[in-house]
């Protein structure tokens, strides 16, 4: 090939690079290894960490992933394709995404869905930006954000929207229920907001008064942004049915739908909305259409919202999304169907109730908040929760998430969770270990 180029060496091909810029030897990169050695090295490192039975949730849940899900998603034709720009050569991915959009719309009770965003937290940021665009007329750049929304979601939204001079105002949650009570709204009744953000089940696992909150916001011309766990929508009222007219934008993280925990990603953010604001949506959207022969086919549509067409006027800068994760979730939802997903939700609810019963049976452990919750619960321990989490890890248990890090004042609080995967034996082991550890601690 060098001959064809009339070059003596590959080095010649780099002759346009100014000599002083040529790099020397890489210092931090070791010598290359074979696949075998490299995999062994990664395994050695990872297996140095104890394998923990997972009672943590807080946005990432240990649900069972059927074997077929990733067997299908990792087929080369799905896994090694690019974004479906050449529609004729991408009908597989495109049809799958259209099916995905349909599933998500039905789960959330909304009109439309995009083809994914990065994760739930960044999806919330995009929802805020979208709401502000949709409310351009009113001109408000203020958002009322429930304090019971996942703290990392709130932080992410803040990092992303703050450069655009959007203000996020926190709506405090009630100290005894952990949720937003209607009374708290009074402090905000006077201001003009573009939108209200509510998460339900909220970060603490509690169910918000979604109907009242939605109606309150709509009565004031605000849009309602719902943050939800899609698994719970198998049984919980979908945001499209919140209050009189339903939420306007729904976002969340798709992780519970077939994505392994994997230290936090790849998961995917989903976003559904009312048809009338679809042109304000960020991200890819697939439409059904016909080909030259009039046969059904699928294509990217409404691309005039996107950066590759609109550049600085795009609704978002997002380009690569979380396609393969969505592929897995689509297969997951097809496999479970309405019944399977409902059972998963109900079993998670029940296992979690059993967990709370077993743990609050331990001396000094109490549920911190009252009121209905789904499959997560905040427990108050007699000692700092972070030390208990560390200590129980030595017993093979990931007890949950210590809340002091996020909420000063809740240092003794532990957010704990059970999914359908947690067995009675595992719950009993957790409770037994907690009892022992607390006895030690006292």
């Amino acid at each position: 090939m060098l001959d064809a180029l009339g070059a003596d060496s590959i080095e010649d091909l780099f002759d346009e690079i100014p000599a002083p810029l040529r790099a020397g030897r890489l210092q931090q990169v070791p010598e290359g290894r074979s696949e075998r050695d490299a995999v062994a090295e990664v395994r050695r490192r990872l297996e140095q960490d104890p394998a923990l039975t997972c009672f943590a949730g807080a946005g990432a849940y240990d649900h069972y992933v059927p074997a077929a899900v990733w067997d299908l998603a990792t087929r080369g034709e799905f896994m090694t394709a690019y974004t479906p720009y050449q529609a004729e050569a991408s009908q597989g991915t495109l049809q799958l995404l259209y099916e995905y959009q349909t599933m998500m719309s039905r789960l959330t009770g909304m009109d439309v869905s995009n083809a994914s965003l990065y994760d739930g937290a960044s999806a919330l940021a995009e929802a805020v930006l979208m709401a502000v665009r949709a409310q351009r007329k009113s001109g408000s750049r203020r958002i009322l954000l429930a304090g019971s929304v996942h703290p990392n979601y709130r932080a992410t939204a803040a990092s992303i929207v703050s450069s655009q001079e959007i203000e996020l105002e926190t709506l405090v949650f009630c100290e005894s229920t952990g949720r937003v009570e209607m009374a708290a709204l009074q402090a905000h009744g006077e201001n003009e907001y573009a939108a209200l953000v509510v998460q339900s089940p909220n970060f603490f696992g509690g169910l918000e008064a979604v109907d009242e909150l939605t109606d309150w916001a709509h009565a004031r011309g605000m849009l309602v942004i719902a943050v939800v766990n899609p698994m719970t929508l198998a049984v919980l009222k979908p945001p499209g049915a919140w209050g009189e007219t339903g939420a306007d934008i729904v976002v969340g993280d798709g992780q519970p739908l077939g994505l392994p925990l994997s230290s936090g990603g790849p998961y995917f953010g989903f976003m559904c909305a009312r048809q009338k604001i679809v042109r304000q949506m960020p991200g890819r959207i697939i439409g059904r259409t016909v080909d030259l022969d009039g046969r059904e086919g699928f294509a990217l549509t409404l691309q005039a919202r996107e950066q590759h067409i609109r550049r600085s006027k795009a609704t978002s800068n997002i380009c690569t999304n979380q396609g393969l994760a969505v592929t897995a979730a689509t297969v997951f939802l097809s496999l479970l169907g309405p019944q399977g997903l409902q059972e998963m939700a109900r079993a998670s609810y029940q296992r979690s109730a059993e967990l709370v019963a077993a743990l609050t049976d331990v001396e000094g452990v109490h549920a911190h908040f009252s009121g209905p919750r789904f499959h997560e619960c905040v427990l108050r321990l007699p000692v700092r929760a972070d030390s208990i989490v560390d200590r129980l890890a030595q017993e093979g248990v990931l007890a949950g998430v210590a809340l002091g890090y996020y909420f000063p004042g809740l240092e003794n609080c532990l957010l704990t969770c059970a999914t359908e995967q947690r067995s009675a034996a595992e719950i009993a082991h957790f409770a037994g270990a907690l009892r022992r550890v607390l006895e030690e601690a006292v």
Partner: protein, 487 residues
């Protein structure tokens, strides 16, 4: 047929059941009144449906896929194996540091390797794709200026050849975009740049090798012009594959950059993602890196890895995701970097460049016009089909569609915008000469077809699951969600 059209009430994949629990204690007002309208199908139906859907895609595993700017190279299956290890998949993102030293050490080691490759001072792995990496980088530029009390800088300069995410990012970060033209030789128009910079300049975003497939030779001058007015330089690392181990962006004068691990470091594109877009910063911008990333400390002479969080990094632009970005993708990149190693990284850029130059040469010989015939190709290059469009009425789009019939994925078309009727062609280092030759022969054959029978080319493709799709109808008669007939 849609999966919904195969649905039958009551049908299910029975083995995917859960022991049914009761929703005791949940008031009705919280519950949905009817089951969600998911498909009701058997496991076989699911497997057959999605297997057959997958077969309608082109992909790297099945075809040569020379999509410029996208680096559609072979990503070793070993990287997937590493990410699929139980110890990788089973780790909860909020596991305590005390039980995560092994995982954190992987992330730290990857940060270090990327730091070295880019010639920067520190790396954060948390951005989830290139565009989010760009966001992080430009937000860091803004944070830096603000930290200096320098609040008057309202503009980001972007070459007209830039990827769409660049201007879109600048706007997301609250900046105005100022575009500068590309000179005839493919380099930035230096005079235009000089004219554009000033006290309003927050920074410049640039790709090098640029998206026109050449190396910006005056990059040092560009850097000094921007730095001269107090602006900062952002490096869009989407094209890092071309210069891996050859040139470090830090040495070119860039202050901050992102990488697309899903292009350069082994993650197949997954039909749209997921990716990972780590940012790297020099000393000046380091305090503003997005959290969390991994710090190495020592305790009794032993390394202890910790998360760098808001508390540790008070000047950080903050977090960009619920947890720590696409950790699993970073793990794949880590495995890939270990496999490549020092020598392998050099080879990546070398063979990517060799393949691109070879193709450029051969296509020119076959009668195609290169956009920058006097320049070395980098890892990619541009063919312009303007001549064919004018004389034969056969456009880049037509060539692209016809290539599909030949079993080749089309190159990137109509990007960058400044070159008319363009093909941006990136063969990558993992393709064999035989594939390149096959593609070149197909192009030559389509050119002959275009001369003899233009309609044949304009009607393509013929052999795919769909003919050309009606995009106008797709956008006008929006059908984004399946509605069963009669509903």
């Amino acid at each position: 047929m849609l999966i919904f059209e195969q649905s039958q009430p009551g049908r299910r994949a029975d083995s995917q059941r859960s022991d049914d629990g009761a929703l005791d204690g949940l008031p009705d007002e919280y519950l949905r009144t009817e089951a969600p309208g998911l498909p009701e199908v058997s496991e076989l139906q699911v497997v057959r449906h999605y297997t057959n859907l997958s077969r309608k895609n082109f992909s790297i595993d099945t075809q040569f896929y020379p999509l410029g700017s996208c680096t559609m190279k072979y990503n070793p299956r070993g990287a997937l194996r590493a990410a699929n290890l139980e110890a990788a998949q089973g780790r909860h993102p909020l596991s305590p540091e005390s039980a995560s030293q092994g995982f954190l050490s992987c992330m730290y080691h990857l940060q270090e390797m990327l730091r070295d490759v880019t010639g920067m001072a520190a790396v954060s792995l948390s951005p989830m794709a290139g565009a989010q990496g760009e966001f992080a980088g430009v937000a860091m530029i803004r944070a830096y200026h603000e930290a200096q009390g320098d609040t008057g800088r309202r503009e980001i300069i972007v070459p007209d050849s830039a990827h769409g995410t660049n201007p879109a990012t600048a706007v997301m970060c609250g900046y105005k975009v100022r575009e500068i033209p590309t000179a005839k030789d493919g380099d930035v128009d230096i005079e235009a740049l000089r004219a554009a910079v000033g006290p309003q300049t927050a920074g410049l975003m640039m790709t090098n090798p640029s998206t026109v497939g050449v190396f910006e030779r005056r990059i040092e001058e560009v850097a000094s012009i921007v730095h001269g007015v107090g602006g900062l330089l952002y490096y869009d690392g989407a094209n890092l594959n071309a210069i891996l181990g050859k040139v470090k962006p830090g040495d070119m004068g860039f202050d901050v950059l992102h990488m697309n691990l899903h292009k350069t470091f082994a993650t197949p594109h997954g039909g749209g993602g997921p990716g990972s877009g780590p940012v790297a910063a020099n000393e000046r911008l380091r305090p503003h890196l997005p959290v969390p990333y991994v710090l190495r400390t020592e305790q009794d002479g032993q390394p202890v890895f910790r998360w760098a969080d808001d508390a540790a990094c008070p000047q950080s632009i903050g977090r960009l995701s619920a947890f720590m970005g696409n950790a699993g993708i970073n793990l794949r990149a880590y495995l890939y970097a270990l496999m490549l190693g020092r020598e392998g990284m050099h080879r990546v850029g070398e063979f990517a460049t060799l393949n691109a130059n070879y193709m450029a040469k051969r296509l020119a010989e076959a009668g195609f016009d290169l956009a920058y015939p006097k320049r070395r190709a980098t890892h990619e290059f541009i063919v312009t089909l303007q001549k064919q469009a004018k004389t034969l009425g056969v456009t880049a789009m037509d060539f692209a569609k016809r290539l599909l019939d030949y079993g080749y994925h089309a190159p990137t078309t109509y990007f960058p915008l400044l070159v008319p009727e363009c093909f941006l062609i990136e063969p990558t280092e993992t393709e064999s000469k035989e594939e390149l030759d096959g593609f070149i022969a197909a192009m030559a054959s389509i050119l002959a077809e275009a001369r003899e029978n233009a309609d044949l080319v304009k009607g393509a493709p013929y052999t795919l699951p769909a003919k050309r799709l009606d995009d106008v109808r797709a956008a006008r008669e929006l059908d984004l969600v399946y509605q069963p007939p009669g509903e």
